[in-house]
Symmetry: D2
Amino acid sequence: MKALRYYGARDIRHEDMDDPKLESERDAIIQMTGCSICGSDLHIYHGHGFSEDIGFCVGHEAVGEVVEVGRAVTRLKAGDKVMMPAAVGCGACRSCLAGVVNSCEFNAGSCYGLSAKLQGVQSQAFRVPAADTNAILIPEGISEDQALMMTDALATAWFGARNADIKPGSSVAVIGLGPIGLMAVDSAFVMGAHVVYAIDPIAERRALAAQSGAIALSPEEALERVREDTHGKKLDCVVEAVGHDATVDLALRLIARRGTVSVIGVQQSRRYAFPLERAFAAGLTFRIGTCSVPEEWPALIPLVQSGRLKPERYISHHLPLSEGAEAYALFDSREAGALKMVLKA
Amino acid sequence: MKALRYYGARDIRHEDMDDPKLESERDAIIQMTGCSICGSDLHIYHGHGFSEDIGFCVGHEAVGEVVEVGRAVTRLKAGDKVMMPAAVGCGACRSCLAGVVNSCEFNAGSCYGLSAKLQGVQSQAFRVPAADTNAILIPEGISEDQALMMTDALATAWFGARNADIKPGSSVAVIGLGPIGLMAVDSAFVMGAHVVYAIDPIAERRALAAQSGAIALSPEEALERVREDTHGKKLDCVVEAVGHDATVDLALRLIARRGTVSVIGVQQSRRYAFPLERAFAAGLTFRIGTCSVPEEWPALIPLVQSGRLKPERYISHHLPLSEGAEAYALFDSREAGALKMVLKA
Amino acid sequence: MKALRYYGARDIRHEDMDDPKLESERDAIIQMTGCSICGSDLHIYHGHGFSEDIGFCVGHEAVGEVVEVGRAVTRLKAGDKVMMPAAVGCGACRSCLAGVVNSCEFNAGSCYGLSAKLQGVQSQAFRVPAADTNAILIPEGISEDQALMMTDALATAWFGARNADIKPGSSVAVIGLGPIGLMAVDSAFVMGAHVVYAIDPIAERRALAAQSGAIALSPEEALERVREDTHGKKLDCVVEAVGHDATVDLALRLIARRGTVSVIGVQQSRRYAFPLERAFAAGLTFRIGTCSVPEEWPALIPLVQSGRLKPERYISHHLPLSEGAEAYALFDSREAGALKMVLKA
Amino acid sequence: MKALRYYGARDIRHEDMDDPKLESERDAIIQMTGCSICGSDLHIYHGHGFSEDIGFCVGHEAVGEVVEVGRAVTRLKAGDKVMMPAAVGCGACRSCLAGVVNSCEFNAGSCYGLSAKLQGVQSQAFRVPAADTNAILIPEGISEDQALMMTDALATAWFGARNADIKPGSSVAVIGLGPIGLMAVDSAFVMGAHVVYAIDPIAERRALAAQSGAIALSPEEALERVREDTHGKKLDCVVEAVGHDATVDLALRLIARRGTVSVIGVQQSRRYAFPLERAFAAGLTFRIGTCSVPEEWPALIPLVQSGRLKPERYISHHLPLSEGAEAYALFDSREAGALKMVLKA
């Protein structure tokens, strides 16, 4: 079969690869019908890999059709249309049984497409371990594109907004308007924000946020404008969706007394200069981390079904898997309106 | 001065009355610039008075201008434009200090216009006790009509929705589409409901709820339709905004396992036949009561300022105070699109 | 094998019964090492059966050892020491996957020992359906007696206290001091109650609650004493653990404004005369229902391991299974200090 | 009158000072009957003053008797025994009206004894601004020593524990066992912690924590022991009550995935090297700040009245105000079992 394989910085190739096989009675093999590129895939693309392996298949966002299941799989059968949470759990520990797969006791933080250990999903077919836990039937009324967004990006955006303690009446900022940031803006409104400041250097992305009802600002103008609008009180909730020290800094400057900063941008900083003295004087909550995708679904499924959230708005391109390398380059360039890139089998 | 005075069932008269006077150093006198008729005023109008007094002034929803303050009043001065929460507290006990005036330790449940003890506000002027607590400057960006809706009706609607545990993604029903029920529909959407069923026998009121995005149903069709739409699971949250046994019954039939029923309609039933066995099997939360208006304001003020809530939509008539009797009769008839009746000085 | 079988009111017999067999690949067969009698078993004992079946095996509280597992069972193997939640779920629906087995979409309310459909556990051996979900390894540091209490009674007591919104500093009453009520008293203290009134007509049971630090009262003296102690404010939280209209009434009389009543006693009343008018004036939350046992375990396991909760205190008798009929009669009599009756294989 | 006045590092003098006078109609004058020294007073004592003033009176923890009130004070009269929250609010803004005085819109962060602007309370008498808000009658059943502990230290300890999201069943560490840390240990148990690790280099202080039921550890042994006891999972909740980078570091090392770190030690670090990458991988909540004392009282008052919290345990010395300089030196030395130092008029 064909797969997108990693060979080093900016070197993703569409190549042959061995077909996936069941490795346990609890596994399933899925034929990919759609997959997509995540911001964190770009970390790998830039050569900051999570492993030293060469040639592993990348990607962790996919939907597809079940083609084969192990004999201990009870909830799925060949032909089922499924979506796969990006976070993979063992399915048997107490965390997994409670739906918190990203705290899996045996497997915490496991994900497709980070190394050869668990191959990625940007391929014609792939293996899902503990399939009863890690693949879910696409609910009725959810399109394949919507389901694809729910496997990771929308769940992360929603989690990021929840982590910022957004309540009805809150004032909010979202820093970084990639697909996740844009969906965090929409999430904030669904949670009852009365105002959302959407901050990004790229005008095109700001325009999308403005269409959602946000006040769109460049990073340069954000602090001054927020101070003015709020008579110096600043904002109840800030979501950081970039992953740089400078944007974490901006988040900590935009927050009001007793406010909450939620960091969902992938962080690689080991010694960020945190202003403890200022934070102590203001009193704040700083939350950081990644979501357990299936935990977010009970709220997200009806919101997508009913059209209150329309994650498919942020898909900018549908391309064949064979053009995966081009898709990576385009997404990385942030040009041509590139947002979520979907690759079809 | 002129005031609307109660003389018995369906007998409200626009008549002369003594001017209000300061009775304590903490009081203020307010010149009414707008007042409105509440559903609970209709209970008095129907002769189910809360007192035996004759000739007392009715009404508890008003905005106005400060004309005089006692010397212990520190937060207000003559000329200030203020809104008065319908619930009145002593301003000095622990509950009042925490903003929960309807649990005032000395004064619990106190309200304007229920007896001669504390005259109503449907008059050219009225006295506000403990004015530092019981009158608040109208925030910038809030119109007088909006402020009037916030003194009671919108706060009650919002509280009723909160009490139903509405969360992003919830499914909701609101039973009873008077002004409070209609605003409970809007509140439910702001809190993130993915669907709201709005139930009332009057088609005109259902049409307004439908404009807000609700699925509008008559009481007769509600249960069947909800069962069908939800494959028998029924709804997460139900708000009862009527005050009859039959509508409480309907609420308890519409609720899903582990759901929450919130009752805000004024209740006079002393022995409602509660289906404990069924409730025990399903597991549910049943909340009932009235709100402490100022507790709801921190969320409501920015939501009204930003236009996410538009309570003024439900004002159907503006009439002079002198036509108060006609306004009561019209509101009571539920005809001619009568919803919130505003009386101007 | 031997089992306790139901033949009508007050007619439980220790008799032969067919050995249990796997009915699905997901089942397990458990050899009982300890089982116990629940207050709700007494409803059956009194002839208010949940089914018309004759001769079915009763009981839903047990611990034991795995003797056989179906080939789709992945988390258990022969020899494992396990405890079984009283509530049984399908293990595959969204509710079960989230740990909420008593809201199982296919199986809601399912339980051992209510009919011949799913035989009880008061027998030498029994079948557990969907064993990966419905049987859990006894955690280290938990004795067999403690584990037995956790399968239902302690979880229900804890849930009842949680449902009463007990917070640090709350004032609490528990009505009914059977094993569940007594453990609700202990739970309330662990949750931070500053005072717990423990109410029961039986002096012996009151003495046990007093040993836990509660103020023990008879039902007759409770209301007057609480009014006096609280200067008329009454209590923040009341747990009803009996299941009669009179005790629900008492709960609604003991509650303060804005308080929460939690009903966990098994209810069979279809038309309880609920005082809506009074409840509306006070503002209250009324919660009722049964727990999903495994949901309570993440908190309970460490509290029992560390000795903060000692549920084994309320086991009054250990008897052989062969004396099951006598154990039922003794528990029903409430005499001789009878509380939790444990039957050993 | 006599007062403790600040003249520079380690130079606190018991000297004459002008008697306090009413400066507004809303003020009160209090005769001190007990005051105490806070860890944050030591920051001033070490010369890290919050102002450049010389000779100002220090201290922010006191109880006393009202001797005079301005004419706009309605809740207090001469002779009342009162306790003063350390945080001072204007009493008129929305934050103060909601009981959140440390977010006072005009006065945020205001406190006695930081400068000449608002003199301290370690003196025979002092002025309380907005006395209706900033002085509260000592509740019945609370001793003067207990009330003194509630003005700041106990409220801060409790807040620190709340901020760590301690729930029944949580595992907890408290770093730093001064009076606040020791009371945070007790608070954690009242909130339902199943285990509390109490960490401090001073053996004497560890012994006190052990008496409360904590596992007492030195900073050196803490991480290893916690890892071992928890099989590597580490702890749900950590309270940092010191105020150094090294202890914040330790807190971030002791925390489990999805855990919460609460920092209440006074922080002066402007560029703490925060391990964002590790925190992102684990997922955590980091809370920091000071409490609004009166917000904590509704829970604390009944817990102290009922004896569940005994803050007076941590008073090590009662000395006359005239020995204030010696008291500072002794507290600073951490010797002779010095914990909370109380000074009597």
